[in-house]
Every structure is written in structure tokens, then in C-alpha cells.
Amino acid sequence: MTGHDVIFVLVGLLTASAAILTVTSKNLVHAALFLAVTLAGVAGVFLTLAADFLALVQLLVYVGAVAVLFLFGLMLTRAPIGREALDNQKRGLAIAVSGGLFVLLSTLIIGAVGSGALGETSVAEVAGPRIEDIGIATFAEWVLPFEVLSMLLLAALIGAIVLARPESGESGEEAEVTRIEMGDAPSSEGPQPLPDGSAPELTSGQGTEGSS
């Protein structure tokens, strides 16, 4: 066990326990916060595997944006303020889905990487590619999948905007915008003329000069 291994094991344990707490937590917001810890832990795992760029992307996209949007959505809609619980009781279905997904993914990964290759890499060889190499590979070799992915994301973005757009007459009426007249002209702030058109009487000390 080198120091590297110890850190890897610690980060892995942290990530795994946060992941377990995410699904066992009774409070929805706590679950989302543990999810953020899990995602940050995955970034830590990437970091110990010398994939700096991937770790930072994980941090920026998943912790800084996705987890924040989860929390934002929860707080905006149905999160109980404070310590109340809000829990989904469909445990059996969740276990079946996540277990199936785990088996599928681990089979795929072991099949793709091969069990023989895993044991042969030593710590000294673990060094991530330079950011330049990643960039050149993305924009030279893999430019077509990259563009297809961006088109997919763009389509999803436009779809989300279309779904969120309030159609007039569909979901109730739009509230009228409150208009506040503002101006420095003293005439707009002074006493209004009476209904018969005569100017109202000013009592002493109620002039406009009193308000600065």
C-alpha cells in the first residue's frame, strides 16, 4: 500500500458511503446534498487516477451546476423547510433498477477493459494525458461525435425552452405587470386636483419641499 493507494481507498469509501446515504436518507434535501458529496467524491477518485481534467469537469458540471440545480428545483417546489421528512417508499423497485444497472455496467466495463489488463498497470505508469492532447483528439479525431453531441444538447435545450414557455390561455392568465410611475417632477408627486377641477388646499407644512 502506497500513500496513493491509501488516499484512493479513503476517497472511494467516502464516495460509497455518501452514495448509500443518498438513497437511504429520509429527507429529500439531505439526499440531494449527499448526492453532491458523492459527485465530488467521484471527482476525487478521478483526481487520484491522474485524470485532472476529468475531475475538474466533474466538479464544475456536476457539483457546481447539476447538484445545484437539483437543490434549486427541490427548494423551489416541494422541499420542506427545516427538518421535516419527505420520502419515497418505492424501495423494492429502486433496488431492482440500481442492482440491474450495476450488473450491466460492471459486465460491460470488465468486458471492454479486460480483466487481464487491470492487474498489470503499476502506479508509476498512471499519468493522465495532457490537456492539449485531449483537445487535439477531441477536435481532430473525434470531431464528428463531438458535433453530434452538441447538436443533441442544443435540441434538448430548445425542447426545454419550448416546454417551459407559457402558452397564452393554457395555464391560466398572465398576471398584469404592476406599473409604478416614477418621476422627479414635483407635479406627479404633489396633491392631485379635486374632482371638480379646483386645486386642493394646502395646509402649512405639507408642501412638497418636506420630502427630499
Binding site: 434535501v29 475538474l56 466538479l59 457539483v63 457546481g64 434549486f72 427548494m75 423547510i81 490537456i131 492539449e132
Partner: protein, 368 residues
Amino acid sequence: MMASLTHATTTVAQTVSLFDGFDGFVLPVILKLVFVLAAFFVLPLVGGYLEHKVMGRMQHRRGPVEAGPFGSLQLVADGIKFIQKEDLIPSAADRWVFAIAPGVALVPAMLVFLVIPFGPGVFALDFELGLFYALAAISVSVLGVLMGGWASANKFSLIGGLRAGAQLVAYELPLIIAAITVAVQAGTLSLVGIVESQATFQLFGTGINVWFVFPQIVGFAIFFVAAMAELSRPPFDMPIGDSELVFGYMTEYTGIKYAMYMLTEYAGMISMSALMVVLYLGGWQLLPGVPLPGCEAGGGLFDCSPTGIALGVAITIAKIMALVFLMVWARVAYPRLREDQLQRVCWLVLVPLSLANLAVVTIAKVVF
């Protein structure tokens, strides 16, 4: 195309920090930690004192005068007062989340200081992905704000937290795009590399040496506005909005936890200003294209004498404080935006403008 690629490969060479000059493994690490912590705790206090004084003068007051010479120890006195105050946790609050939240906001703000170069060789780490690292660390702070807003079990806090979440996620976008534009121009993501590339950068086609602020004045303006919004400082302080939300997500916080939120804000002011100095204002250089007195070719550590290093640090900090002054000026001069105006400015003005800026700079980079 290939020529520019090979050029980029040569400039990315990692620069050695001043602290790596010592023997062993432990000593440089300790020195770097001390340096980062000192910068993190001292510079925000200087910036805060500057804010007190400048705001006072702009409002025809004198600002702090009692504590220390010219009131310069006012913030230290404030800090001692915060520590002495009772540490209240509302009975309806979620205790753990409430207690952890200020730390979640503070730690990323501290981590940013790890990569900021304050002078030739005066930095803890020249990370190949330094700029990206700084942006990623900044983006995590918002979690602490959301946690604090929710866990306080207070409607004002919750609304403040929600506003902060919406604002910080939105303004991150123009901030990152503006920063990417500089990285495209410099051909590197390393903050030291960006400073060094400005020493030799010449305006397209001419022989005039300039910093990136001149070809990228639009990007600089976008970054400056987005940075003020990211820090939720006036005129972008809707999450705090003291005239509508009591004190936003910080309403229920007292004592040391409140101080931690405030320190996050002031440290953010320093780190954002430092990023702007590095990205746009040539870092520790005195004039574009002119090496510092005592330095050769405006380059890394080994070209500089101790005088040159000290001068470089002084120039960087002076530039940072000048930007802090601008932020304070904006705070005094402009009223707070309305919540819908804020989102409108971001999505309809800053994001399209930054994308157009990125496109123009990229085309110029390829053509010239």
C-alpha cells in the same frame, strides 16, 4: 495551424514556484500552505478596509478612524467581535446543514488562492489547468449559500438562497466563456502561462505589445460585471437585498459563521480581481512588453532578482486593489437591479455578447 500548435506546446512549460527552491518535500509544502493562508486572510482584510474608507469618502463620511492607525485595524476588531458573539442556531433549523454551510462556501474561496500568481515565482502552484481549476472551485461556493438558505428554516433565507442559486448559476456562464476566450488567445490554461504570454503578445499584424485587455475590452467588461454578480455584491445583491429580504440567506447567521460568509465575499473579491489582473491586465508586468526592473524578458522566476520579485508582487497587489476600488465605486454609484432585470441582463446581453466575443477572437487567432 500546425505552427500555432507547436508554439503553444513550448509556452506551456511548467514554471517553478519560488517555494520549490528549498530542499525536501515537507518544507516547500508547508511554505506554500502558509503563503496561501496568509494571502487568504490578509488580502481580503486590506480589500475590506479599502472598501470601508472609499465608501466613506464617496458618501462624505470618514470611514473607520478609531481602531489602529487611520482605522486600519477596524476589520480585525470586527473579527474579534464576531468570535465573541453567541453562536445561535434557530430551533427549527437543520442543525448540521446550517452549521456546515458557511464552511462549504468558504473552503472553495480559499482553494482558488492556490493557483493565483502574485508575482514572478510567487505562487503556490503552476497548474496546467489553473484557470479551469479556479473556475471549478468558484462554482462550488454556491452550494454553501443554498444550504445556508434552506437550513435556516426561514422564508427570507430560503428566498435569498433561491435567488443566489439562480443568479450564480446564470452568471457563471458569461464568466466562463469570457475566461475561455482569454485561454484561446493565450493558447494555455495555466495562469502563469497566460501572464507570460501577455509579455510577448502583439496586437494582430502590428508590432505593438499589448495586454489582453486591449483586444478583449468586451471580454473584460463581461468578466467584470459577471464577477460582481457572482460575488452578489451591489448592484447585484438581490440574494441579500437588505431592504426586501432582511439579509437574505445570511438572515439567521450570527457570530463566527456570519463572519465566514463575509470572509467568503471579500476573499472572492480579491480572487476575482486577481483573476482579472492575470487574464487581462498582464499580471505582474509594469508596462506591456517592458520587462520589470531587475528582471529579464518579463519571464519566470529565474530571470528576476529579489527586487524584481518584490516589485512584481507590489504591482500585482496594486492592480488587484485598483479593481477592488472599481467594484466599490460601482456599489456606491448604482442602485440594486430588480430580480427580473438581473436575469435579463445575463441571458439576453452577457451570454450572447460573450459567445460573439469568443467567435471573433477565435477567428482572429486563426487568421493572424
